[in-house]
Structure formats: structure tokens, C-alpha cells
């Protein structure tokens, strides 16, 4: 188990190194080829020449780009150098400094990550809850009405891009009630949910936060649920078809006990694996959903920083997203070993 873990960790570090190397390859030689100055792009238009000069120093633009990659790794390990501290007025952190936001990139990324985490976790509860509950119910009575209804529902969603789902929800659930008109019909208006925007989570009053996230949660969940429902149903059907289920019946267990204690435990690992892979990718930025609903998460930070060619922020976000993917994949491997004794003792 320990050897297995070490191997996986070494692999994860290798992947992250390759990933950041390619990011630097895209940004530094790439922008140079386009004749653009990363220092100027990294700062605001109104920035003083002094700030631009600082940015140039910070990014090490007087050196070849491999040097910049080297300082990135060094900063990651040792923290920002005195020079970097000086030009960023002490704000720089291990991921660098965002001149546009006047914040350490690590700080910026973590605060945005909290937003994305809330979005993805909430949606995950919805789609996993639906998929597990109805997947089991559908598998217990294949071709029964639950199965048919769920298949039609999820089938209709398959292949619909998440942003179209999002816009549809916004139109029907937020816009139509607020304006009180739909296809020329008029009725009393009432504000159900806000159209766009985000409100930070306050534990004393979580409602504004939830209110802004309800539609994004549903949209993301609807985009994800088809696959999970189908997988859950298929895995559950195949588990229910196994010999050990017959053994459980022979013991006198009822169908509910059989489904929950015996079949579900065997059907869950593939779903968990899939979830792990998706979870990593989604945490790295639900760019489309965040764009539709105007949520300031990691994805929209990545999108705006790349669109603005804000190199220090963009490289930091991509690094962070990459780390998330590998770490979550690593966690899935461990979880897999915990869920399935055959893997654990392999």
C-alpha cells in the first residue's frame, strides 16, 4: 500500500511538472512570438511605468523563459524572494503576485476556489443524490415506471450543453416570474431568484448565498446527471445479477436489504471513480456555468486572466487547477482501495 502510494505521488508530481512546463511554454515564448509584453499585460492600463518595471523584474523577463519557469518552481518551494516581496509590497506568495488585482496569486486562487467548491459540492449532492436514489430504484424494477420516467428525463438532457441548460433555467425560473410575462401571456410578477451574481457565504445567514447558487447547482447537476444515472443503473443491474445476491436471498434477506447491503456496495466503486475524475476537473473550473451565471469562481478567474493575458494570474490558476485534478485522482485511487478489498490487497 505504501509503495503504491509513493508511486502514485511521484507520478502526480511528474504530471504537475509537465503541466506547468507546458503552461510556461504557451505563455512566455508564445506571447513573445505575438510581439506582446507580458509585463505590460500583467498590469493595468493606468499603471505607472514603475509598476510595469516591477512586473518585468518580478516575471524575470530579461532572462530566457526557462529561467522564469525555474523561478516559478523555486518560489513554489521556498516562497517569494526578497526582491519579489519588495516589488509586490509584501503581497507575493508562493504562486506569485497578480499586479492587476494587487493580491498574491495563491490568495486570489484560494478565495475563488472557495466559491467554485460551494458550486460544485452543491451540484454534486444533487446529481449524486438523484443518480444513486433513482439509479437503484430503476434497477430494482427495470422497465418499471420509475425507470422509464428517469430514462426519458435523463435521455432528454443528454447532449444538451450546460450553458444552454443554464440559460433555459435563467429564463424560465428567474426572468419569467420577475417580469411576469411568458410568450405574450401576462401574469403577476414576483422575484423568485436573482438573474445573475453571487453573494459570499455567511454562516449566520446562508440564504443570499444559496439563493444565488440554486440555479447554477441545478444547471450543473442536470448536465452531469445523465451519465451518473446510467452508470448507477447499469452497475446496480449487474450487481443484482451476481451470484452473491442469490446467496443473500437464500439467507432470507428482503429486496431492500439485498439492494442496500449487498448490491449497492458493489455498484458504488465505479460511480465513485467517475465522480473523482469529474470532481477534479470541475473544481479546476466550471468555466461555462460560472460564465452563464456570473459567478466569480476559479473558472471565471482563469477565463478572464487568460483573456487579458494576465500571465502571473493565469499560470497560477492553471497550476492550481492541475494540482487539484491530480490530487483528487490520487484520492480516488486511495478511496477505491478502501471501497474494494480486492484492490486493497492486490
Amino acid at each position: 500500500m505504501i509503495a503504491f502510494l509513493l508511486k502514485r505521488v511521484a507520478w502526480a508530481i511528474g504530471v504537475v511538472l509537465v503541466l506547468t512546463f507546458i503552461t510556461y511554454l504557451i505563455f512566455f515564448p508564445g506571447l513573445r512570438a505575438a510581439g506582446l509584453d507580458p509585463a505590460r499585460l500583467a498590469t493595468n492600463k493606468t499603471s505607472t511605468p514603475q509598476t510595469v518595471a516591477n512586473a518585468r523584474k518580478f516575471l524575470g523577463l530579461d532572462h530566457p523563459w526557462t529561467y522564469q519557469y525555474g523561478t516559478f518552481l523555486l518560489r513554489l518551494v521556498r516562497g517569494p524572494s526578497p526582491l519579489e516581496q519588495e516589488v509586490s509590497s509584501g503581497q507575493a506568495d508562493r504562486l506569485g503576485f497578480s499586479f492587476r488585482n494587487r493580491l498574491g496569486v495563491g490568495h486570489l486562487v484560494v478565495s475563488r476556489f472557495a466559491v467554485t467548491l460551494g458550486l460544485v459540492l452543491g451540484a454534486a449532492v444533487l446529481w449524486l443524490g438523484f443518480a444513486v436514489f433513482f439509479g437503484v430504484a430503476a434497477a430494482l424494477r427495470p422497465r418499471g415506471w420509475i425507470d422509464r420516467a428517469c430514462s426519458v428525463f435523463t435521455g432528454a438532457l443528454a447532449g444538451v450543453p450546460v450553458y444552454l441548460i443554464g440559460f433555459t433555467l435563467l429564463y424560465l425560473v428567474a426572468y419569467v416570474p420577475t417580469t411576469g410575462s411568458f410568450l405574450g401571456l401576462h401574469f403577476g410578477s414576483f422575484t423568485l431568484l436573482p438573474l445573475v451574481g453571487y453573494s459570499s457565504l455567511r454562516l449566520s445567514d446562508p440564504w443570499p448565498w444559496a439563493q444565488h447558487l440554486i440555479l447554477p447547482w441545478i444547471a450543473l447537476a442536470l448536465a452531469m446527471v445523465t451519465l451518473y444515472f446510467r452508470l448507477m443503473r447499469a452497475e446496480m443491474l449487474s450487481a443484482l445479477d451476481q451470484d452473491y445476491v442469490r446467496t443473500a436471498r437464500a439467507k432470507g434477506l428482503d429486496e431492500r436489504q439485498i439492494a442496500l447491503r449487498h448490491a449497492l456496495r458493489n455498484a458504488l466503486p465505479p460511480v465513485a471513480t467517475l465522480f473523482g475524475l469529474d470532481f477534479g476537473i470541475l473544481l479546476g473550473g466550471v468555466v461555462l456555468v460560472e460564465t452563464v451565471f456570473g459567478i466569480p469562481g476559479l473558472g471565471s478567474l482563469a477565463l478572464t486572466s487568460v483573456l487579458n493575458l494576465d500571465v502571473p494570474t493565469a499560470t497560477g490558476v492553471i497550476f492550481f487547477a492541475g494540482v487539484l485534478v491530480v490530487v483528487v485522482n490520487l484520492a480516488v485511487d486511495v478511496l477505491q482501495a478502501l471501497l474494494d478489498p480486492r484492490v486493497r490487497y492486490a
Binding site: 505575438a34 447532449g159 429564463y171
Partner: protein
């Protein structure tokens, strides 16, 4: 939103016993992969079986209709007298808003710039389909070539290909796509270059799906008697691969290709929607959705039209892919 990855798993989950789908699931989980072996079933049989599949034929008809609609774009322009980029400010309502569907002379209405939505939908479809098809062909070419090389040559070549696949699969696809696209557009600023960049991005992040499937199939084919016999006869590897391996691999590639076209249309649309794909002036279903997103509350048809085309095309290619798979697999 690695839509390709999602797709693979989706189809694998939907139809667990289908061969290519199983192979795709295997490609995802890293398990052993097996592929359908369709040379035993002749292409005529495949066609007969496919013709009996009403849903599959329906999907093919739908796809054919969509393609014809897009090819007929100049015809729509000629019939309506509205060029694709003709901005007619008379084709807006009195308060300067786009015309709704079934307005006089504009079957689907106009967009915010007074352009005929119907004409743009057809022209946009040409762009979307062209990018998706090119990207699919490029993906299959790269993937099949590398997959066959890795599977047939084995050894260090196989190791390198497999490692590269593993690393690529661990990439946050969309973020890289955004970065590559934006920087690429700054280096090569032209509409054509934007389209080419999208093709390159899609290929970079999807070639490993055909590669994995083909590699696994070639690895197992390699051990089969007829290949062994061909090697014993001293046929050069190139001949064996071209004449004995490739025909066995092609059916799966065809099925995967069908799925990929739908997926790639989605990727182009997603990138364009985010504003990192094609320039907004160029009509494509993605850019049309993008420009509609600022006015969709008051003029929803501007989003519904390209959205419906997008969903219909994706649906048709999905169903077509799964029907082809069933037909090849001989149930």
C-alpha cells in the same frame, strides 16, 4: 467540461455490453480493452442490420437533413436576398430590437444587427460542421496512426505513447484549450487561423481516445493466427499493418468518428461561447449562441435556433454512433 471524456463514460454507462463502448470505458479506466472484430461480419451484413434499425436510420436522415440545410446556405441567401453579413437596420423593430420569428421576409427573425437568422444559421452550420469534421479526421488520423504504431511495434515506442496519453488525460482540458486558443490567436490573428487553432486543440486533447482503443485492439490482433502467419511468410510490417490490421480496426474507428463529430461540434461551440473560439463576426452555432447570450432574455429565439441545431446534431451523431456499433457488433 472535458466533454469528450464525459462522452466516453456516458456511452460506456449507457450500453455496458457494446464492444466499442466497453473499449471506451476501458480507455477511460485504464483497464484492458477489447474491440469489436468486424471483418468477420461483412460490410454488407452491417448495412443490412443497420437498415433494420429504425432509430439509427432516423438519426442518419436527421443528420443528412442538417448537412443539406447547411450546404444550401447560399441558396437561402439568394432566395431571401439577405447576404450572410448583411446588416439591415430596417430589419429591426421600431425600438431597435431584433425581429421575432415569422416576421415578413424573415422566417426565423433577425439578430441584433438586423441580419437574417435563417441565413446565418445555415452559414454558421457550415462553419461548425467543417471544424468538427476536420477535427474528427485529424483526431482519427493521429490517434489511429499512433495507436497502431504503439500496438504493433510495442517496446519503447509503446511506452512513450502510453506515457504521453496518461499525462494528457490528466490535463485540465478546458483551461488549456482557453490558454492555447487565446495565445494562438494573438500569434496568428485571422479567422482561418482561429478555426485551425480550434482543430489543433481538439486533436491535441482527443487523439488518445482512438489511440488507446486501436492500440489495445492491435495488441490482441498481433497474437492472432492470421497475423502470425503473415509474419511467418515474411511479409513486411507495413504490408501486414495496412492489409491485415487496418481493416479490423476501421469499424471501431468509424463508430468513434461518429461520436467525435457530435462532441467536437460541442467543443467548438463551447470555446466560441466563452469568446475564445471563432471571432464573433464569423457565423457559427457557437458564436451565434455567444452573441445571443446578451439579449436572450428579450429575444430568446436568437439562442433557441442555434442551440436547437447544436443539440439535434449532437443527438443524431450519438444515436448514429450507437446504432452503427450495434450493427457492426452482430447482436
Amino acid at each position: 467540461m472535458s466533454s469528450l471524456r464525459r462522452k466516453e463514460r456516458e456511452v460506456a454507462a449507457g450500453d455496458a455490453d457494446a464492444d466499442v463502448l466497453g473499449a471506451m470505458a476501458g480507455a477511460l479506466t485504464g483497464g484492458e480493452v477489447s474491440g469489436a472484430d468486424a471483418t468477420t461480419a461483412s460490410w454488407r451484413d452491417v448495412r443490412t442490420r443497420f437498415a433494420r434499425d429504425r432509430v439509427g436510420v432516423g438519426a442518419l436522415v436527421l443528420l443528412g437533413a442538417i448537412v443539406r440545410f447547411c450546404l444550401a446556405a447560399p441558396l437561402f441567401a439568394a432566395l431571401t436576398g439577405h447576404a450572410v453579413n448583411l446588416q439591415d437596420y430596417n430589419a429591426l423593430s421600431a425600438d431597435g430590437r431584433p425581429l421575432g420569428p415569422f416576421s415578413s421576409g424573415y422566417l426565423l427573425g433577425t439578430d441584433s444587427n438586423g441580419r437574417d437568422l435563417l441565413v446565418r444559421l445555415a452559414y454558421g452550420g457550415r462553419v461548425s460542421l467543417a471544424i468538427a469534421t476536420t477535427a474528427t479526421l485529424a483526431t482519427l488520423f493521429v490517434g489511429v496512426t499512433l495507436g497502431m504504431l504503439a500496438g504493433y511495434a510495442r517496446g519503447w515506442l509503446d511506452t512513450i505513447v502510453s506515457r504521453v496519453i496518461e499525462v494528457t488525460m490528466a490535463f485540465p482540458f478546458l483551461l488549456f484549450a482557453i490558454a492555447l486558443s487565446i495565445v494562438g490567436q494573438h500569434v496568428f490573428p485571422s479567422t482561418f487561423a482561429s478555426a485551425a487553432i480550434i482543430v489543433v486543440i481538439i486533436t491535441t486533447f482527443s487523439w488518445f481516445y482512438p489511440a488507446r482503443i486501436v492500440r489495445a485492439q492491435v495488441l490482441s490482433l498481433r497474437e492472432r493466427e492470421f497475423i502470425q502467419a503473415a509474419r511467418m511468410l515474411g511479409l513486411p510490417s507495413r504490408t501486414i499493418v495496412a492489409q491485415h490490421v487496418l481493416p479490423h480496426v476501421l469499424p471501431n474507428v468509424l463508430v468513434l468518428g461518429s461520436y467525435l463529430v457530435g462532441i467536437n461540434i460541442g467543443v467548438e461551440a463551447a470555446l466560441s461561447f466563452l469568446g475564445v473560439g471563432l471571432p464573433t463576426g464569423t457565423p457559427s452555432w457557437g458564436t451565434m449562441i455567444q452573441s445571443a447570450s446578451s439579449v436572450y432574455l428579450t429575444s430568446p429565439w436568437l439562442m433557441i435556433a442555434p442551440g436547437a441545431m447544436l443539440v439535434a446534431t449532437t443527438l443524431a451523431t450519438n444515436v448514429l454512433g450507437s446504432s452503427l456499433n450495434d450493427a457492426i457488433e452482430r447482436r
